[in-house]
Amino acid sequence: MSANESERHLTSQEISQWLVEGPSASAEAHAGNCYACQAKLTEAREPLAVFRTAVVAWSEAQVERPVRAVEFQQRAERRAWIWAPALSLALGVALLAGFLLGPKAFRTHTAQTPVAANAPVSDAVLMEQVDSEVSEAVPDAMAPLTDLVAWDSEGSSVSTVSAKKAVKGKSSVGVKAKAKAKE
């Protein structure tokens, strides 16, 4: 190594080379005696050391904490920020709609109140109807016969005999027709 080489300050390229591949013998010899070059080296190393320290500390913390939980938490926070304007807009629209339609809605509500009061009455009617249909004494199979009884009872008093005849197979219509012919 010549005297000139050892006196020459380190270039930026040599500093990069030092950091990437390690120092050459001449660079190391010079930097050992040159405060200016030592300062340059420190200036180049320091930001990298700071970066490394922070990144390593961060990643070690991630190892201790469940990463997915952290990520979920952050996403949730972001999502809240994303939805905040939309939610506030929706709330505004809802309030405006409530303000404009409010009195009408209130009137409608008060108008509906009597209906609500009448509800037990209509319920009672409905229950009566259901009761009457459910409590039919005559079975379905006998229903046509009861219809005939009902027809017979329209003009005169209900005759159980005619009903019995009808049950036996003679229609009351036929009986009536015979009676008319006798007359």
């Binding site: 270039t11 930026s12 390229q13 990069s16 950091l19 990437v20 591949e21 390690g22 200036e43 180049a44 190393r45 320091e46 930001p47 990298l48 050391a49 700071v50 970066f51 490394r52 320290t53 922070a54 990144v55 390593v56 500390a57 961060w58 990643s59 070690e60 913390a61 991630q62 190892v63 990463v67 997915r68 952290v70 990520e71 952050q74 996403r75 972001r78």
Partner: protein, 192 residues
């Protein structure tokens, strides 16, 4: 920054792959931060990290100790990152960047043992500048930069992990370092 021959983060060589929990405890941080900076997505980085250890455990019989365990794990991680980068999912995440780590989050982890407020501000500025510069690096430059200056791996180890020539690693590394230095201290000539 000390660039010793042996990585500061190296684990004892006696740790076997059968004890996967211990291996994970020792190397998870390393793989996670590499994956984090490579894919720039926390969720994907976590998936890659888990997949890396799973692959390593399944292929533990094939590990013959030709390289260190950390280099071997890093090699798996590099391949996983490559596969991931090719996938459509990566393209989506790259656009979305929904869970990328922010520099402000990392700044909280800057140590300040008895440092003055001025030194703290300077450190934050330096971190911000390096971070911004690293973000602008190409994918390959960023990876080799991280392996060298964060993981403190030797050039040959990086070449092995990245499956590329040492000269290629050097080339990427010089470009990356010069870009970072230029960003951190404007006025640096940045010549290789």
């Amino acid at each position: 920054m000390a660039m010793s021959g042996e990585s500061v983060l190296s684990a004892p060589a006696s740790v076997g792959l059968d004890d996967i929990e211990e291996v994970m405890r020792l190397y998870r941080g390393r793989i996670l931060r590499y994956a984090m900076f490579a894919v720039r997505d926390r969720d994907a980085a976590e998936t890659i990290t888990q997949e890396c250890f799973l692959k390593a455990y399944r292929a533990r019989e094939s590990f013959r100790g030709d390289c260190s365990l950390s280099t071997w794990l890093m090699q798996i991680a590099v391949n996983l990152v490559r596969d991931y980068a090719r996938s459509k999912q990566f393209q989506f995440w790259r656009r979305a960047q929904t869970s990328a780590v922010d520099v402000t989050e990392v700044t909280e982890f800057l140590p300040h043992p008895g440092a003055s407020a001025e030194a703290g501000v300077l450190a934050r500025e330096q971190l911000g500048a390096v971070w911004a510069a690293v973000e602008k690096l190409s994918k390959m430059q960023r990876q080799v930069f991280l392996l060298r200056f964060v993981e403190e791996m030797e050039l040959l180890e990086i070449a092995e992990a990245m499956q590329m020539k040492e000269s290629t690693v050097k080339s990427h590394l010089y470009r990356a370092l010069n870009s970072v230095r230029a960003k951190v201290k404007p006025g640096t000539d940045g010549a290789e």
